[in-house]
Symmetry: C2
């Protein structure tokens, strides 16, 4: 006779395997799918979603949970039950009609957004966005059950985090980042990389660098797609990247970023496969891995010194005066409108703007009709110049059109966590710089694998960072790191 | 209020969409999957199979079927209900334990077969094959419910066909094929293609030829894999092929063969998507399309005349004295052990051998212990020389190890149907040869699309061929075609 726990886990593993299949279908859609297969694919995805939704709300989960005494389980079993119970409660709190309405609406609003962005016309998007906000408030209220509505939405992406805690953290970040940005932009602009860079050679170099950051190509693959992303868990974790003949940094740093996500999923203990513990624990912790790979390691003086040699070997003459100029080019800070193209200093200012505005939308303090003005005012306040058009402003990101409220702050939380992890890593691996200067991040990635990645969902998000660091996470290490790095680079 | 028929079809469409997803996973496994993902993939496939099996045996199907009066449906609705009722009856006749035992056993026997073939050791495979035969007899008896056990297994691949009918057909084929083969092999061997042929250029040519046979690349793609196959229905039908630098015919004719399968699936009426009518109606009819594309059209004197020019443009000097020599090289008949490498004349002799042996295994007239001897005796009788080793004989094909009894005869049935279709096609398209000589099979493929392919599962297998041809299918047209073609080629 099997126990309720065994039955529950066997059901969850099968659901987890189906979720991997659905994820692989998403990868296929962006990389391999014939262009004429879009409508058919939508129906295939909907069929998979329907199966997954039925399983996630299956009443047997409630019966199994009720029959389990967590005291009889070890720490892993207790963590599994905690995840499963949380998901089950959430899935059952949202009425089926609301979930279906949201799915239909966000499918429509996503298309409307894409057209409005192409036409640079926020008014074309505003009515459907207002509908999305209304339904998300309804969903949040159902989930919050009397608690904070925004926190309830945030919980989907960062379990346990609260807007109040993030507000405090981001409130400390914002003024010092604004000041750092202003000081940098008053200094002379460093030289940039010029020329054209063979795209096949870019892909070869990007594969080499991904593997040097620990990506296991026998359990993954790298393809080109319009948007870089990482997909899958365990033994089949795939990366996409893109190439631009004029900007080899785009391909390379997109790949290093996705390698952080991908190695996290590859490193999780094998016996967690297909279970709730068998994936990255939150968006914020995921982003801490992608960001520390990309920035604190990949854009460090030490590593770019090695990379300078690789670039020379791969592409020939770069027109830059040595590794210091290359380091400065990699870390150039310039005015820009677009979050995804922003440097380390300005990136979080883009995120904080979105976090404050989406909170106000969900609380009802801000109406969609006033959103464009609010965006433009805030942008001018933090960046010192005006948004030129909606596609460079309020229409630039896909998230809100897809109903993803509560997602944006996890980007900056990931940066904050990356700052904390770097501080702990530097103590744990005293010769980190020497290793990176030799093109070897394996000391760093082994430490991250051991202290963060292998645990998957075993600990709560904030807990896994605190256990790894040995101190309570805060924004201070990130700020110290940014001020020191860019202060030195720009002679502040 | 929806009707029972609407509810049933909506359920079936979702099942059909999930089956497409499972099929795409199979494609991914052979083309894209990282090599270390095999174990994880097995679990993902098993999870999909478990979902599909539960849906195929869902008791609601029985309730919906009972509530439907077929007289109220049009011809398409009646055909849908006929297919669904047949599948549901079959799925419920096999006890769940037997189905699970068979799945486990064939997974093991497939591995054992692969090792035994590599070691050329039939005795290593015989015990597990005996277990497979025993379980297949049990499954066949459950399905036959008092009727013929082999017919019940055959029905999985060729609904409505019987061993008695095939026996009569194949009995007429065998002596004339043996005689034709002997006469040909007494004649001087025609010259062969020599040299090495750039594999990238082979792939470019194969894509061009697939499209010239009507393959819609906007709803498909061609990749390399170990085994050529076609996968998917509707707007996402993918082909794989392979290249061999010494033998460009391998790549090209594998692709034309798979193009026959793939265009069939692409041509089915769009409103049949995901339903039982939305796929090729049987293995035999499927094979009739792949074979007529590959052989009657692709290996014709007229088409090879055009192809000769393409080969010259693609690969330069071929070392063959003009298009007639090229035609002879494409159609060379030589002694060989292997079914999948056989020419048009000998191919069916390989199949007939397997058909007779597998019938005897299922009836109990032949024991697995005697199978190798029986194979070798029959091979010597039909081919006039001895099998040299098991991997060239009884161990060469995967089918029996996978429990696929009743599959082999559909290959020859497909050839027989292709012979019938060619006869009808020649009357319907009087200038067929002129078109083919210009490298344009579109008159032929349009006729096949109109008369066979678009119907999907609307008519029963034999019925769709008879409707297209206007006469009852028999082996005579194929025999006449082969004797005429090879008689002329070899001066008989």
């Amino acid at each position: 006779m099997t126990s309720a726990y065994d039955d529950l886990m066997s059901f969850e593993r099968e659901t987890g395997a189906l979720a991997q299949v659905a994820g692989r279908l998403g990868w296929d859609q962006e990389t391999m799918m014939p262009r004429g297969a879009g409508d058919q694919r939508s129906e295939e995805m909907a069929a998979m979603e329907s199966v997954l939704h039925a399983r996630r709300t299956d009443p047997r989960i409630g019966e199994w949970l009720a029959a389990i005494d967590p005291q009889t389980l070890d720490a892993e079993g207790q963590a599994q039950v905690r995840h499963i119970a949380r998901s089950f409660r959430r899935a059952n709190k949202v009425p089926a009609k609301l979930a279906a309405d949201l799915a239909r609406l966000t499918s429509r609003s996503h298309r409307t957004w894409a057209e409005a962005r192409a036409d640079d016309d926020f008014q074309a998007f505003a009515p459907v966005l207002a509908e999305v906000v209304a339904l998300k408030r309804e969903e949040g209220a159902a989930l919050a059950a009397g608690g904070d509505v925004y926190d309830a939405l945030l919980d989907d992406f960062e379990p346990g985090a609260t807007a109040a805690e993030l507000k405090a953290m981001f409130g400390a970040l914002r003024p010092r980042l604004v000041a750092l940005r202003q000081a940098i932009l008053e200094r002379p602009e460093p030289p940039a990389l010029h020329g054209t860079f063979d795209e096949t050679a870019q892909m070869a170099l990007t594969r080499k660098v991904a593997q040097c950051f620990g990506y296991d190509m026998s359990r993954g693959r790298i393809d080109k797609a319009v948007h870089p992303f990482s997909s899958g868990s365990g033994d089949d974790v795939r990366i996409t990247t893109r190439t631009n003949a004029l900007d080899p940094f785009n391909c390379l740093y997109s790949t290093i970023h996705e390698t952080g996500h991908a190695t996290y999923e590859q490193a999780i203990r094998g016996n967690y496969r297909f279970t709730p513990l068998g994936q990255g624990v939150s968006m914020g912790v995921h982003e801490s891995q992608s960001r520390i790979y990309e920035n604190q390691l990949g854009r460090s003086r030490a590593f770019t010194g090695w990379l300078y040699g690789q670039f020379g070997e791969t592409f020939g003459e770069l027109g830059l005066d040595g590794p210091e100029a290359f380091y400065a080019a990699v870390n150039r800070v310039r005015n820009g409108y677009i979050r995804t193209e922003a440097d380390e200093v300005q990136y979080n200012l883009h995120v904080l703007l979105r976090f404050d505005l989406e909170q106000a939308l969900i609380s009802g303090d801000l109406q969609v009709a006033d959103l464009e003005t609010a965006w433009n005012d805030r942008f001018h306040a933090d960046f010192g110049f005006a948004v030129d058009k909606p596609s460079d402003g309020v229409l630039q990101d896909v998230h809100w059109s897809a109903g993803l409220f509560g997602y944006f702050p996890t980007y900056s939380l990931g940066n904050v966590y990356a700052g904390c992890l770097l501080k702990a890593l530097q103590e744990a691996v005293p010769d980190l710089e020497t290793q990176l200067a030799a093109g070897d991040p394996s000391g760093a990635t082994a430490w991250l694998r051991e202290n963060v990645q292998q645990h998957g969902g075993l600990y709560e998000p904030r807990e896994v960072i605190e256990r790894a660091c040995g101190f309570a996470p805060s924004e201070a290490p990130l700020l110290d790191y940014l001020e020191a790095k860019f202060g030195a680079l720009y002679g502040l």
